[in-house]
């Protein structure tokens, strides 16, 4: 019993350590001072309005959304079939292929960003946008393969075999039997990949340039010269967005199954 109380206190402290800074940011976003201060002097919602007035925030926000969206869609198009083959076929060296697909989660994002920059922008002379898209596709792919893969592995393989005996080709079986039963995994991996792409800094940082700035980059640029609470306000908006997405994932698949 005493042990449990000790554990609870410890867990509470850890939680507070993680949570209090976030709380402070939320509070500062409502402050009336022109610099971030805690505690705040008065209450205002002006900074939220400022966020939307700032053209570079809005533009980079829209760009980030688009890149994250299309990167995730690409990752799904490639990742779902790949996850399926990995789960169902005992290809030679399957575990190596698996680790290869998961490697961007192990390799530091800085390295991924730098090598993409070297290869795509410098060597291949691709436009930045395409480099960004490819980079974010690579960020998203491991999440898709991992989450969708685990959903497929949980699916009873004999329902595919049954559909073959009833006359389905392999492709028909995939479309009619596998896909409808892994929608929750696809949805969850979409959300997860999207969030990770949206929040990614290193890859976006390397692959940005004139007119092509992702939200985290433009946020950092802004902080360098300004220290007003609109940064806090923007952070709160992003946090809210993430919380909503996480809530949707939790409702559809459960967070436990993807972590």
């Amino acid at each position: 019993m005493r042990k449990q109380i000790g554990l609870k206190i410890f867990a509470g402290l850890v939680f507070a350590f993680l949570f209090v800074p976030l709380l402070i940011i939320v509070v500062t976003s409502f402050g009336t001072n022109s610099t971030i201060q805690f505690p705040i002097q008065g209450f205002t919602l002006d900074w939220y309005g400022k966020v939307f007035e700032n053209q570079s925030f809005v533009n980079s926000f829209l760009l980030s959304l688009q890149i994250a969206f299309w990167g995730t869609v690409l990752a799904l198009l490639v990742g779902v079939p790949a996850a399926y083959s990995l789960a169902r076929h005992s290809i030679f060296g399957r575990n190596w292929i698996k680790s290869f697909f998961l490697s961007p989660t192990i390799v530091p994002g800085l390295v991924v960003g730098y090598s993409l920059y070297q290869f795509i922008v410098i060597q291949l002379q691709f436009p930045l946008i395409q480099g960004l898209l490819l980079g974010h596709f690579l960020i998203c792919l491991p999440y898709v393969i991992r989450v969708v893969g685990s959903t497929i592995e949980q699916l009873d393989g004999s329902i595919e075999e049954v559909s073959w005996t009833l006359g389905c080709t392999k492709l028909q079986a995939f479309m009619k039997v596998v896909l409808p039963n892994i929608t929750s995994g696809i949805f969850a991996s979409f959300m997860l990949a999207f969030i990770n792409s949206f929040n990614n800094i290193p890859v976006s940082q390397f692959l940005s340039g004139p007119g092509v700035t992702m939200l985290p980059t433009s946020l950092m640029n802004y902080i360098e010269y300004n220290y007003d609470p609109s940064v806090s306000a923007l952070s709160v908006i992003l946090m809210l967005g993430t919380v909503v997405l996480m809530f949707v994932i939790e409702k559809t698949l459960g967070l436990a199954s993807i972590s």
């Binding site: 009873d156 004999s158 329902i159 075999e161 049954v162 559909s163 073959w164 005996t165 009833l166 006359g167 389905c168 080709t169 028909q172 039997v177 409808p180 039963n181």
Partner: protein, 346 residues
Amino acid sequence: MSYVELKDIRVSYDHKNDILKDLNLSIEKGELVSLLGPSGCGKTTTLRVIAGLINPNDGEFLVDSQNLTKVPVHKRKFGMVFQSYALFPHLTIRENVAFGLKLRKEKKNVIDQKVKDILAITGLEELGDRYPKQLSGGQRQRVALARALVIEPKLLLLDEPLSNLDAKLRVAMRIEIKRIQSQLGITSVFVTHDQEECFSISDKVAVMNKGIIEQFDTPEEIYKNPKTEFVARFIGFENFFQLTRVEEGKYKAGDGTIFLSTRQWETDKRTGTIRPDDIDIVTGTEPNENNTVSGTVKVRTFLGKSYQYEIETPIGALLVNESDDVIYQVGDSVTLSIPAHKLIIV
């Protein structure tokens, strides 16, 4: 030639060990044939070869004189019922059953009629709009059966379809399967490792052991005249003793006792075997008569409707089941009669 022919089928998963070794099986039209055998003997593998889910390394598979060995699974269109039922979780019962017909692009009213008919035959009319999750084990089993039957397959394949049901339901369902199968006259292959289930449902039984068929016969013939020691052991013969052959139907045991067998003596085999139920404990017989041995009771076990005795004899320890009319004690000396018409030579 039979309706279904498996010819010298060989299957190896790892190119080292053969899981099926030159397996041959012939099935007549309309028959229900069971594959019976212990776990790992290759029953499922045989069924999957028939279904087309596995390509045999060697051998041929024919149905109705057509060579189907190289025909892929989706073109064979045999009905298959899996142990796990494998219902489509995202479809209603009606959609599950209609799945195969829709793939054949049959007209909607034809599909509806066929689905309705098969749901009636399998007693599922009321459940058409439910999802698999909302059904009991027995109901799911019937949906799996209906889904396989509605496509009017040339062949119905069932892999331990009853093993997930409780004992009572198993009996009810196997009667049901047999009824539907004979009503529709569908040639069927039924995999099981339950002897009673297999005997009650089958026209013929193939007893398998380590990738070969040891005996292929009617249930009665297998029960009465097992051809090999493996088959005998598998269907409840528990007493085995070595004999030497004197002449046709006449054998001599190690201690010199003469055993006559009127059952099966044409082979060159040398092991006598008999079920515990078929040995009698007798009084008033001299132990040196033919087909009798004397012995001492070593262990007595209560089986409910009878007692089982383990009796030490000169030809080895024998298990004997006796009713409770006379109860023997451990240490009693008894004389055992092994009737000539019950003694099998394998």
